[in-house]
Symmetry: C2
Subunit: 328 residues, 2 copies
């Protein structure tokens, strides 16, 4: 029974590793009763309390070339974390480290689910007043084929069901116009491909646009990893810069600054709502195991959330459901 | 002398045509002394005051297929507006109508600047505390070649000089990582191409990311029309949804609603700063004439701004400068 296995946490990955990672792992255990095993250099994990450690002597740097690092650094925390899942010592892996190396470790050590052409990164976007929107691929595959994108849609639908409890997710294809004929050649071919796919309980609703991402118009948005990553970073930048501009404007007039101070709880609420850390990281869909990828800048709370998501996804049997959806 | 010619305004194009378009044209004349000629059905332009009209009996619908419409509707306001520029009866054209048909009219009637592979749509993105960022292509070419993108960079640099008075614009290539090796095959090839281009006073600064769009990191961001349009609409949606979420949050607590009411001027300032209408529309770069494309939803003030931008671009001799940059 997978749920009794611990979550393997890459203790060495992330801008604030190992201290914040270890702190997040402890929070996950204390606040949610989740069993966690740290992966890394035990001598550097002195604050680990009673958490167990899987030894790994090497660390893949945040800016290292993913493929060659994973092949070369066989005793790295990322590779060992993926192996722990493969070998049945852990139920899932979580890392805030090098995203490309996390994907490569998971792909090479766990392997692909049968029938999956390419794993994709699924991320959640906050949508005011409704469930978040699943965006995939958020950056795993800079260049895609129509069949891969259609499969991303199937995997994203399963993820929306298991992660967000949406029974019949609406799947949209990101384009530059709603009509079927709009978009790049890739999008047009993908549109045709997506009309032939078995969607199970989900539904393909056609093209959607960038302005639909944070709304209730769609549940799962499919795009290639290049466009998805640009859209994701554009969103993050827009939200940050709008908030900064607002605070700057409010600082210019004394009465405004006073009124703004009254709005502390509301600004805090909005900040949290739109902050990526709130959503517990992205998930690599299509590998034989749960792999959660947290922001490189993750602090303890972001890691706690990411570990909680990983445990929930194990519990929800998302890998089994993905396997069934792709086989079906 | 081009500056003495009127600006041709497509009176029939846009969701709020003709009334708001005509009102905007009158504002441009009254507030800025800009000579305007309306293009459309004079019998429907009863509020035109003393503005002159170039007769055009047909209208290209907002959702019509661009290419065939322009070929078929030879007496449409869009086609006649482009012809007015070609024939020396107007110095520039402005339309809030069908974007694809506006591009097609300008391209087919004015023709391309010698050496230009493909015209591109340049749009301005608000960057708090600094000059706006030029984004191109914002949607003219869903699929691009590396050489086209490099040329978009050259044209964008000229536009930044003439429109934003930036003497030495920093040109960046939109990608999913700052390192030269990051991105799609198109981006990697374009990077190499952009290193060989003659930048004049401008400078190619390498890859930039979605989060840089609204910042002072870069002046001109080059991308294909698919990615550019997705980024633009993602930005518009993010700003709208963040503002909505903020207002909604502030309405839940009576003290917050009171404080928010005090911040009216600041919210208004931010709203205007980020609103697309403030920037006077996008410009089609690479055709033999000034062609300004305003939002389909443009009201009188957006049209006034767009007409003012068109007049300024004629005055700045942007077409001459583009011609020199591409020839050089």
């Amino acid at each position: 029974m997978t749920a009794s296995l611990p979550i393997a946490v890459d203790a060495m990955g992330g801008d604030r590793a190992p201290s914040e990672i270890v702190a997040g792992a402890r929070l996950a255990k204390e606040n949610h009763g989740i069993d966690v095993v740290l992966v890394g250099r035990s001598e550097e994990l002195t604050d680990r309390g009673d958490l167990e450690v899987i030894e790994a002597s090497e660390v893949i740097a945040m800016d290292a070339e993913p493929g060659s690092s994973v092949r070369r650094l066989k005793d790295s925390s990322l590779v060992r974390a993926a192996e722990a899942v493969r070998d049945g010592r852990a139920s899932a892996m979580v890392s805030a480290g090098n995203t490309g190396a996390t994907m490569a470790s998971a792909l090479l050590r766990m392997g692909r689910i049968k029938g999956v052409s390419r794993p994709a990164i699924a991320t959640l976007l906050p949508a005011p007043g409704t469930t978040p929107t699943v965006l995939l691929d958020a950056g795993a595959n800079a260049e895609c084929k129509p069949e891969w994108l259609a499969q991303f849609g199937q995997m994203g639908a399963v993820f929306a069901q298991d992660r967000l409890n949406i029974p019949a997710p609406r799947v949209g294809l990101l384009s530059i116009g709603e009509e079927p004929g709009k978009g790049s050649p890739l999008v047009k071919e993908t549109y045709a491909e997506m009309q032939t796919v078995n969607w199970g309980a989900a539904e393909f609703i056609g093209n959607v646009e960038g302005r639909d991402l944070l709304t209730d118009e769609v549940d799962v948005v499919v795009t290639d990893g290049f466009t998805g990553n640009v859209a994701l970073k554009t969103l993050e930048g827009a939200l940050k810069n709008l908030m900064l501009a607002l605070f700057s404007a409010m600082g210019e007039r004394p009465e405004a600054a006073e009124a703004a101070a009254q709005l502390g709880p509301e600004f805090d609420q909005i900040y949290r709502f739109f902050h990526p850390d709130t959503y517990g990281g992205a998930m690599l869909l299509g590998v034989k195991g749960v792999c959660v990828i947290s922001h490189g800048s993750s602090g303890a709370q972001a890691m706690e959330n990411a570990i909680k998501v990983a445990a929930e996804m194990v519990e929800a049997k998302v890998v089994e459901h993905l396997t069934e959806a792709i086989a079906g």
